[in-house]
Symmetry: C2
Subunit: 329 residues, 2 copies
């Protein structure tokens, strides 16, 4: 797909993955509208440029704002989400509002304005406690163990129903956790903050044996554009594409801690909260089958260990990450 | 489970399946609150009885009304839904509101009041265009082809996340289409209304070869209580039970028409709108694998043909069904 000169909206464009997608689109010659409410995004990640990048600071629950932002666009990257998986049970309406209703607002605004192309950031978390590893896109019907997973499977359902019903061209990407520059939420930064506060003791959620796959954000963004460029619509079906994006490797939480301690030159006593899950709804093992996207000629270039180290260097170099982000209302 | 003397809420209790569940609960000695907005339910199906059945006429989007109705209950049958599968694309927000947000309102009211048992009417439609027949509960990850299916998979996700996160005991039933007394929506009544208006011509959506399984409502309600009585929670998991409910037989739309024409003594010219689907998002074939519920000792007692004839007799005998129900706002 040729993005040169086209008008593209990126929801969550001030976020980790979103800001990288914005950069990629700008380098392809697109005019980009960043739509973000800064609940978890950072102003430091938005580089407004006359005629290239404009910022709309608004919430996706404000339908009028969504309508106005999407008018005239040819493609929407819908990457905004409540991605706070761990604390879902503390505010159970948030996932429904920010991930389901917000997604329908995007889809309705697109329908109203005749915008017909959408890429969406879903998650490997929607496989729940997967019975198959590596987990393929057509894994057995998953049982949602978290509100986050439930909200993402709901959003995917809306996207695919719009694809069948209104002819939207739809790309759905189910990610593992991402690492790399501009990373700002997750266990690496949580551990780093704890160790900076107290290098002698580290509390670890669960038993430390949770083992998951991680992908570098640059490999992820490259995969997204490979899929958009090269994926052909299934014959006779809706123009709908679903891809797992992940790394063939995995890293145990204890291994992450080992890398951090080595790089930060600390030797804390580890205190485990216990249990195989970090929190209720946490999947202790995540490994996605990525043969579908690899079939289009993509493969990851970075090792997970290099990604962890690069993430740590970014955190250390960027003061705006040194205290936890203000909790959204 | 002993329902005698217990207080039970049935959302959609003025509907087809809901009113049968209410009767079953009353016969088991429960005190029942029927919660219905009469958007598709019928007043004729509610039999208010001092101390046995009370009616709350309200909408599930009215959270205060839901809270008040659920206070003091020990079990909720959440059967209310927008079940208008065919016209989902005409009002795409309705499925999200009536089937997702409404479901979360029920769950939140339960959480607030410490009510921890819920049974939910899901649908075989969430298997989309299933690649396996008969379709088991752990069929390959489905792609939602209708807003109805998307909204039900979302509601199931919320139910299961609440089950894992808050310890709710949850029974999810994925139905085929139901037939029998109090039936009021679907292709049998649509054909019957058309033939009563004009017995010479019958328009048929699709090619008439859509072939689906149907279950008699009395067999369905019996299965629901068998599952609640006999299903044990999986070891170490959430107290969560998911069952397909269906019939081993199937009926082609053309066969339904044959039975109707024979019983109504008419011979219309059939005019097919064409295509293998009755409408966008229609699954041309539905057959569920019901070995799981059969493993608890249940099996259907009625043939599909007898169910069609019984449905027709009920429609003919009940004047309130003779004109289409007013379209909800």
């Amino acid at each position: 797909m040729d993005f040169s000169g086209s008008s593209v909206v990126v929801t969550g464009g001030a976020g980790f993955i979103g800001s990288h997608v914005v950069d990629a689109l700008v380098s392809k010659g697109a005019k980009v509208t960043v739509f973000d409410n800064f609940s978890t995004g950072y102003r430091e990640l938005v580089n407004e440029q006359e005629g290239r990048v404009r910022l709309v600071e608004a919430d996706l629950l404000d339908y009028e704002a969504v309508r106005r932002a999407i008018a005239g666009a040819s493609f929407v990257f819908h990457l905004a989400a409540n991605a706070d998986v761990k604390d879902g049970l503390l505010h159970p309406r948030k996932d429904v509002e920010q991930n389901i209703i917000a997604t329908q607002n995007v889809l309705e605004a697109m329908r109203e304005h005749g915008v017909r192309n959408i890429a969406f950031s879903s998650t490997g978390a929607l496989y729940g406690d997967a019975p198959v590893f590596p987990t393929p896109e057509d894994a057995p019907f998953p049982i949602q163990t978290s509100l986050y997973g439930a909200s993402k499977v709901a959003a995917e359902g809306l996207l695919t129903a719009y694809s069948f019903g209104y002819g939207f061209s739809t790309w759905i990407f189910r990610f593992v956790s991402l690492l790399g520059p501009r990373y700002s939420h997750g266990h690496i930064i949580d551990f780093w903050r704890k160790l900076r506060r107290d290098p002698k003791v580290l509390e670890v959620l669960g038993d430390g044996h949770q083992k998951k796959s991680y992908l570098h954000v640059s490999d992820c963004v490259r995969a997204i554009f490979v899929a958009i460029d090269r994926a052909a619509a299934p014959k006779g079906g809706a123009p709908l594409h679903i891809f797992n994006l992940g790394h063939p490797g995995m890293l145990e939480v204890n291994e992450s801690i080992g890398i951090l301690c080595r790089e930060m030159k600390v030797s804390p006593e580890l205190r485990y909260t216990g249990g195989e899950r970090g929190w209720v709804g946490d999947a202790p093992r995540i490994l996605l089958d990525t043969r579908k996207i690899e079939g289009l000629g993509w493969s990851p270039t970075k090792t997970i260990e290099d990604s962890v180290v690069e993430t740590l260097r970014f955190i250390e170099a960027n003061a705006f990450l040194h205290t936890p982000a203000p909790k959204p209302a």
